[in-house]
Symmetry: C2
Subunit: 316 residues, 2 copies
């Protein structure tokens, strides 16, 4: 296996001075609704508002001095771009973030606010990859892929490791799945600390490539995902898929309507902001509650970056 628990321990040490040790939250009312004992790892309180900072920070601090000096590059319109920008800032090295020219202005501003150089390109995967390659050639910067990268997987795995060290044994652990950095990392931590527990990926039914891939036993992609969960539209990465197969991950899908209802429930009962991509884990909990009845369940609340001017239930 490419990533093992020693890598996760190394990542934990590497990021300790930079990433927040986020709290584990409980909710009396959600426990009652589900009939289970729920432990929520609040990565919405992580720096840049999402778990993504863990992986980016581990990747940046894994580089040797010479490589690091040339900087890091990635393409992302979302949390990974901001996370890499801030991670590079913690080491004082350059970061280049390739973003689609139609990215929302606050996202561009956030990346630049962390001191990174944002490079605009056409909003296609081809254009993004080509632009990244150009930046690499020009600067010698190291490409840090958002999820198909062992350093990223080991970094994201630290959230589940912290959770399990704090709460002890669980029966199930649920995290959202998109490219699979978080879910594969969580599987590695769970497999080591709670080997008999079930790792579960929460996925929007309109972007269910992970579900399809696990059913088929081979990697499947979706060309045009359809979901409001803007953080869950990527296809599963190859190394991520390998780890999920090895750990017999279960993928459970939910509709966007279920996700929005779960999001409101968390806001109203737990008084914390989570983003739609994150709410999928709670939607899974409610939709498949028979599976979790009587269990101790860990959940990774992956992020809290939400556009307050466009709340999903306010849409026509």
């Amino acid at each position: 296996m490419a990533v093992n628990i020693d890598d996760v321990w190394d990542a934990t040490k590497r990021i300790a001075d930079f990433a927040h040790h986020t709290p584990v939250l409980r909710s009396r009312s959600l426990d009652q609704m589900v009939g289970a004992e729920l432990h929520f790892k609040a990565e919405n309180f992580q720096r840049v508002g999402a778990f993504k900072f863990r992986g980016a920070c581990n990747a940046v601090w894994s580089l040797d001095e010479a490589s690091a000096a040339k900087g890091v590059v990635t393409h992302s319109s979302g949390n990974h771009g901001q996370a890499l920008a801030l991670a590079a800032k913690t080491r004082g090295i350059p970061a280049y973030v390739v973003m689609p020219a139609d990215s929302a202005k606050p996202k561009l501003a956030a990346v630049r606010g962390y001191g990174a150089e944002s490079i605009l390109c056409d909003p296609t995967l081809t254009a993004r990859e080509a632009t990244c390659a150009q930046v690499q050639q020009r600067t010698g910067a190291v490409m840090i892929h958002p999820y198909a990268d062992d350093r990223i997987i080991a970094g994201q795995a630290t959230a589940a490791l912290e959770l399990l060290r704090e709460v002890g044994q669980v029966d199930s652990l649920i995290a959202p799945v998109s490219g699979g950095g978080l879910l594969a990392g969580s599987a590695v931590s769970l497999g080591s600390l709670c080997p008999s527990a079930q790792i579960i990926g929460a996925e929007p039914v309109g972007a269910n490539d992970a579900w399809q891939s696990m059913q088929a036993g081979e990697l499947r992609g979706i060309e045009k995902p359809s979901t409001i969960c803007d953080g869950l539209r990527a296809n599963l990465g190859a190394p991520n898929f390998q780890i999920l197969m090895q750990h017999r991950a279960q993928i459970l899908t939910v509709s966007d309507a279920e996700t929005v209802a779960a999001l409101r429930l968390v806001w109203e009962r737990m008084k914390i902001l989570i983003e739609p991509s994150c709410a999928t884990v709670v939607a899974v909990l409610l939709r498949y509650r028979e599976q979790f009845a009587g269990q101790r369940v860990g959940l990774i609340l992956s992020g809290g970056n939400v556009d307050l001017d466009a709340l999903p239930w306010a849409k026509p």
Copy 2:
């Protein structure tokens, strides 16, 4: 003085099995914006979503067996009604909550959900007080006023006591002021644990009766308060005013626009839900930041009950 620190310690013991010991939060970005070291006591995570449960719980558990058996009554369309309903439930005694007939259905449902009897009346103070008196006559229930009550003040004071025990000395402590239960209680705790620190009330300029009262040195009322802060429309109570005078409380006022901006800032940066009444403390911090520069500041985040279908910045 009517309420002293021994009463607060007694309240702390009395409510320990029922109220949450809420966390103290930090925010790197707000610290930087204000140039101060900020410690936020997150009472939005308290049961029923607001500090009000502390006072209600202390009042209910202060009653002798015979009085308690007949139940408690209050008039409130807001958090105090729900808080008293839940507090009565923890002791297994009846609660009667007099509410205006035009109260929002979720608020009626919440009070009833906690097992209390809700009694509707006309939406005037006269009708509410008359209906309360009728209920008292009929049932023998004990009236628990929302703020002009020593048991309530001592209960609300426990939030500041917890905060100060956790963070140590502060230079200033800010809490919202309406009837003054929370602010007077906070003044008592601060006066005992940090006698040289300044107690500060945050008040909407459109409901600035506390500001007027402190300026005049005598209790002043406002007949028609005008503010979106639905928890801050009551006039200061007489015992509350006495305590605030004794502790030389400073009242700082903010506009609703400043409050809404502060609310958004807290949602976006801290990823927690707070209600407009609660956001006034952060609005004060930003509006009067010169006063707080370089200080250690405690803030009571009073509550997180907000109508997600009617966010203040979405209004025309």
